[in-house]
Amino acid sequence: MPPLTITVGVLALQGGVVEHIALLNRASANYPSVTFHFLEVRTPEQLSLCDALIIPGGESTTMAIVARRLGLLEPLREFVKINNKPVWGTCAGLVMLAEEASATKQGGQELIGGLDVRVLRNKFGTQVQSFVADLNLDFLGEGEGPFRGVFIRAPVVEEVIDGDGRVKVLGTVKKPGEEEDIVAVRQGNVFGTSFHPELTGDVRVHAWWLGNVVEALGQGGEGKGLVVGKGKGDAGKVY
């Protein structure tokens, strides 16, 4: 079997780009048989080189406006919804990947879509209400400890609007005195999180997602299961 080469883009219109690339680099150590390229994406040409994409945290209004002006919105929609390539959005990226959003600016904002959910922007309030919480993310595997979720002016999934059960809820958070909120969802090739794994030193979510990317591209090479490890030096385990 020829060695697998995968190009993963990080949409670099604005926001936390290098943080994702740093963790992707660490997570890639879990897949020694795969050659990864990590690419900052600012143009349709760069997007066309990508097998998978991360849409980082930032300001979703700014990203939508800049993406529109650079002629990237339609290519992004095609990438996510027609070509069905693996995509992960964190925070503002989750907003961009939702089919609907509430609490948007006057006149609304453009979205890429792909997740049949409605997100609520800035659910918890202003920056003073931003917080860190331990999350139980079962998809990371049995026996894994909690994940430190960093929520910054974070959106949540207010409602799953797909009636066919294609949207899987993968994580929730409950602040004291508040209802439980959905903060991680997946629908086929599209994954979204309200929180910022890229602001932690914890590589597990990046490693899990890269495992999905490797599998989606049809040549796992590491056996049937997804390989998850805790970064360089860890053997990783199959589940």
């Binding site: 670099a12 219109l13 604005q14 926001g15 936390g16 780009v17 290098v18 943080e19 690339i21 740093a22 963790l23 680099n25 600012r42 945290g57 930032g58 300001e59 209004t61 700014t62 406006i65 800049v66 002006r69 650079l70 925070c91 503002a92 609490a103 948007t104 600016k105 006057q106 006149g107 922007r121 800035n122 309030g125 202003t126 920056q127 003073v128 931003s130 917080f131 860190v132 430190r148 960093v150 929520f151 910054i152 002016r153 910022h196 890229e198 602001l199 932690t200 030193g201």
Partner: protein
């Protein structure tokens, strides 16, 4: 350039991760000074990542003179209600109560700013005492690290606000860059002792200085501010290593009308998003049109300069 700021630095607290994290999410963006709801809406529609609510833009603060203070909370609340992007506001250097008021208003970032008249000639605000994060100006690495030691989670150059003359902002980022290079060299050649010696010279905390030397950059996000007036100015500051740009008077000063201000705002956003793309910079410069007239920094008397406030 795989600078990773806080990611991977496990020693910092959750509190600081959240404060510095918002600044990380603003990278590659433009933060615009606005004085009313109309200007805030123009900024948001143009693609600003945040707005800075203040009574007067810096060029008018210069012109009007007198004591410049925190803005009226009523105006700040109106702006908060009008936009969904983060709203920042300025407090006077050392004015703990202005900071408390801004925190209680739910401001997303407080700028402890030399553009306002300082309230304390001895101390900056102890920013670790607050839940709201702070951005502060600097002219050099020592000043940047003193502010971070006090709890600032975001740094900007001081430049010379309200002039439309970028020369001081360039001087400040070049000074910071040169001193970071010096810290790296000191760490490489003389280790901890070299860092300790340099830390004494520049008046910085040695632990933060060592961290800076190891990262090869400031340990928090660093924006340009103070005199950025055109798309080319903004791209210049990005090429010199800034993570984003504050534009004060440059959007609304001497703008012909709201449409012209909108074009200027959009043009600067475009320049910061495409700071190496010469074609985009030509388009942005055309769209921007005439810039604010400005005041040459060289023509300012020492007591007219704002950057010397704070230490």
């Amino acid at each position: 350039m795989a600078t990773n700021l806080t990611n991977g630095i496990s020693s910092i607290s959750d509190d600081f991760t959240v404060k510095a994290g918002l600044a990380q999410m603003l990278k590659g963006g433009v933060i615009m000074d606005v004085t009313n709801v109309e200007q805030a809406r123009i900024a948001e529609e143009a693609g600003a990542v945040a707005v800075m609510a203040l009574e007067r833009i810096p060029s008018d603060i210069r012109k009007v003179g007198g004591v410049a203070r925190m803005s009226n909370p009523e105006m700040i609340k109106e702006i908060q209600a009008a936009v969904t992007i983060p709203v920042m506001a300025k407090a006077r250097i050392g004015h703990i109560v202005e900071c408390q008021i801004l925190e209680a208003l739910g401001i997303d970032y407080v700028d402890e700013s030399e553009v306002l008249t300082p309230a304390d000639d001895q101390y900056h605000v102890q920013k670790t005492d607050f839940k709201v994060p702070f951005v502060c100006g600097c002219r050099n690495l020592g000043e940047a690290l003193r502010r971070i030691k006090e709890g600032a989670a975001f740094i900007r150059t001081k430049g010379e606000a309200g002039t439309g003359d970028v020369v001081e902002a360039v001087k400040h980022i070049r000074t910071v860059n040169a001193e970071i290079a010096k810290a790296k060299a000191a760490l490489a050649s003389e280790g901890e002792l070299g860092i300790a010696k340099l830390a004494r010279e520049i008046g910085a905390d040695p632990i933060l200085l060592k961290q800076t030397a190891e990262l090869g950059r400031l340990p928090v996000v660093n924006f340009a501010a103070g005199g950025v007036a055109t798309p080319a100015d903004a791209a210049l500051m990005m090429q010199l290593g800034c993570d984003g740009v504050f534009v004060g008077s440059g959007i609304f000063k001497d703008a012909l009308d709201a449409e012209h201000a909108t074009k200027r705002a959009r043009a600067i956003v475009k320049a910061v998003a495409n700071w190496t793309d010469k074609k985009a910079l030509i388009e942005a410069s055309i769209e921007h049109g005439t810039a604010m007239k400005g005041i040459s920094n060289a023509g300012l008397k020492e007591d007219e300069k704002l950057a010397g406030r704070g230490w």
